[in-house]
């Protein structure tokens, strides 16, 4: 099969802040250095170039990813190395916060990108998912607690993204629909992709939830044994598959029956379970009134004074994500990876 010849466009969002929060102190989480994020993007560019992607829109940043990538592009020789797409940095004013990701994704959608590649943890993907609508995401873990994004070699993710962007594999064959949780609290609405955790910590503070005794309630879109993070509490009690049309909830207890759960890298703790059950789509569940905070995908975002009414609702209309092995298998089946040596790249 011949490669699609129309110019194809891919967006890349790399969160410069992911992978360096307090969990490096409280557990054994890895530090994800900026230079490694740049290396991952270079590997992506090689795979995107090989599958015929001509142009990439990149979110800029002020802490070295853009700068490192610019240096790499300056040193890249298309005649010597494999071809890379042209990289255009979005001309946007930076706030150095999550708003940058929202703005970048909005602009990428406007520009009509076929796929957005996201480098970050659960928190980064949550922000992207709030803005990407039905643009499929190619997820790459570069954060701490990674239940949502793939922990995968970037070259393979780049190949899958390139095959979809160039039209060699249809989105329908490549992507799967995810669930999400909608939190309503005193007029505020927020989304989460994996878990909503009600904690007894009164302040947003250092954001991450790492202290097992602070966890009061947990709501999950999926809970699979074999996945790290807060959702493992539900997974070790009542698992819920990522593709099942329901979620789950757990009320934690300071004593009594408990499950052993890997709530953060290196942190395996017994968590008391008072009650647990299924979360059905479209049916809001009230969050207990307490002074504390709500964490979305592991990061405290909303402070609770004990008086607000808050609820969580499971929705089945979450973002589309590429299933990389399925995409590559579909490409092989369609002959999209076949070439003829001696007649060009």
């Amino acid at each position: 099969m011949k490669q699609c010849s129309s110019p194809s466009l891919v967006g890349i969002v790399a969160n410069p802040a992911s992978g360096r929060d307090i969990r490096r102190l409280t557990s054994k989480a890895l530090v994800f250095p900026t230079v490694e994020k740049v290396n991952m993007i270079e590997r992506l560019l090689g795979a995107l170039g090989a599958t015929g992607v001509e142009r990439v829109l990149m979110m800029p940043d002020l802490v070295g990813i853009s700068a490192g990538l610019t240096r790499a592009i300056d040193g890249h020789r298309a005649d010597r190395d494999q071809p890379w797409p042209t990289v255009d940095f979005l001309p946007m004013r930076l706030t150095q916060g999550a708003a940058d990701t929202v703005e970048a994704v909005r602009r990428m959608r406007e520009a009509g990108v076929a796929v957005i590649v996201v480098l970050g943890g659960d928190g980064t993907h949550r922000i992207v998912a709030g803005e990407c609508a039905d643009t499929p995401l190619a997820t790459l873990s570069s954060g701490t607690n990674n239940a949502f994004p793939d922990l995968r070699e970037a070259t393979l993710t780049g190949l899958a993204a390139g095959l979809v962007a160039s039209g060699a594999v249809a989105v329908e064959a490549a992507a799967r629909r995810n669930k999400r949780l909608r939190v309503r609290c005193a007029g505020q609405e927020e989304l989460a992709l994996v878990d909503v955790c009600v904690t007894r910590l009164e302040h947003v503070g250092a954001r991450a939830v790492w202290d097992p005794t602070s966890i009061a309630e947990l709501y999950v879109t999926f809970a699979e044994p074999g996945v790290i993070g807060l959702s493992s509490i539900a997974a070790m009690h009542t698992p819920v598959g990522r593709d099942e049309p329901r979620g789950g909830w757990v009320h934690c207890a300071p004593a009594g029956p408990a499950v052993l759960a890997p709530i953060a890298p290196g942190l395996v703790r017994p968590i008391g379970i008072a009650a647990a059950g299924a979360l059905l789509p479209g049916q809001p569940m009230a969050i207990g009134a307490l002074r504390g905070s709500i964490a979305l995908d592991g990061e405290r975002e909303i402070e609770l004074d004990g008086r607000q009414a808050a609820s969580v609702t499971l929705e089945l209309e979450g973002p589309l994500t590429l299933d990389v092995p399925a995409t590559l298998a579909a490409a092989v089946g369609a002959g999209a990876l076949q070439r003829e040596l001696g007649t060009g790249p």
């Binding site: 360096r20 929060d21 490096r24 102190l25 409280t26 530090v31 700068a67 009164e202 947003v204 250092a206």
Partner: protein, 324 residues
């Protein structure tokens, strides 16, 4: 479980941050008159860092500071009245008027000193931390340093030493974006100072330095870890200074409106006040009362400093050597 901040803790945090701000704003005004000898480097804007860190420390814990040291001094418990006299070069000052802004030290509260040498604090805290470790005491040492110092060999050597000796040290990088007039985006090769921790076998994290609660919790975790024998760590606090590198710096390297934008949107006192009053833990009136008390304290310190005696020639050769 993470220590929850009590109402008294919140009031103390606000008072400390407000005292630092008032102290620095007053110096900014007074320095322009030319009456204050030497140089001053102001800490305004960075209050949540010193306060969030030092509220996790006791008097037996040590800190080493930088040339931008007033905030660290106040947060560690050095008397602001004595500090003001010191900066005015008076005999009643913290160091008898012989040190000035860049050499304020008060060992009685564990403050090893502001330091004119960029990156000079790293080796000092390795010393105090080693002493605590050899004596079997649960005390930690914190080295405050900036993005400029993060490129100095002394800091690298100290991080290596602290790691191989497993010392109870916290390397607290206050990244305010500029080493004098050089942007850290230009001069720090890896941009995130926290990334350097792994090279020395210690954890490194980055935290929002405009948010007291974030610094308090992150520094608290690092300090607790060190206290329990877990070894050193690197905490990078991202923040901004409201004034120049030194008083008199024209700051032509900063965009117009950069500081005002931060003052309006991220200011640590503004954020703190909004959050504790919205949650109902503290009232606006209580904060206003602290503001008034702090203003009276700082006003009084200036009046006193101006009228206090200067050191005399007879003082010149005293305190030159310390006998042990």
């Amino acid at each position: 479980m993470t220590k929850q901040l009590t109402r008294d803790d919140l009031l103390k945090a606000y008072r400390t941050m407000r005292t630092i701000r008032e102290f620095e704003e007053r110096l900014h005004t007074d320095f322009a008159t030319g009456e204050i000898p030497g140089f001053v480097h102001l800490y305004a804007g960075e209050e949540a860092s010193a306060t969030g860190v030092c509220m996790n420390l006791g008097p037996e814990d040590h800190i080493a500071s930088t040339h931008r040291g007033h905030g660290h001094c106040i947060a560690k418990g050095v008397d602001p009245v004595g500090m003001m006299a010191e900066i005015w070069g008076r005999k009643t000052g913290t160091c008898k008027g012989k040190g000035g802004s860049m050499h304020i030290a008060d060992l009685s509260v564990g403050m090893l000193g502001a330091n004119g040498i960029v990156g000079g604090g790293g080796p000092l805290v390795c010393g105090t931390a080693l002493a605590a470790k050899l004596r079997g005491q649960p005390y930690v040492s914190v080295c405050f340093f900036g993005d400029g110092a993060s490129n100095q060999g002394t800091i690298f050597e100290a991080m290596n030493l602290a790691s191989v000796w497993n010392l109870p040290v916290i390397f607290l990088a206050e990244n305010n974006g500029y080493a004098e007039a050089t942007s850290s985006n230009f001069s720090v090769a890896c941009d995130n100072i926290a990334d350097r921790a792994s090279a020395f076998g210690m954890p490194g994290i980055t935290v929002d330095g405009f948010d007291f609660f974030a610094v308090y919790e992150a520094a608290g975790a690092a300090i607790e870890r060190a206290r329990q024998g877990g070894g050193p760590s690197l905490v990078e606090v991202k923040l901004s200074r409201y004034y120049g590198h030194f008083e008199g710096d024209q700051q032509t390297y900063r965009a117009p409106g950069e500081v005002q934008n931060i003052r309006d949107t991220k200011d640590c006192l503004l954020q703190f006040a909004r959050r504790v009053t919205t949650s109902g833990q503290i009232t606006q009136a209580e904060l206003a009362a602290i503001d008034a008390e702090v203003k009276a304290l700082i006003d009084g310190s200036v009046v006193k400093a101006k009228s206090d005696p200067k050191p005399t020639e007879a003082d010149l050769l005293t305190d030159v050597y310390v006998s042990y």
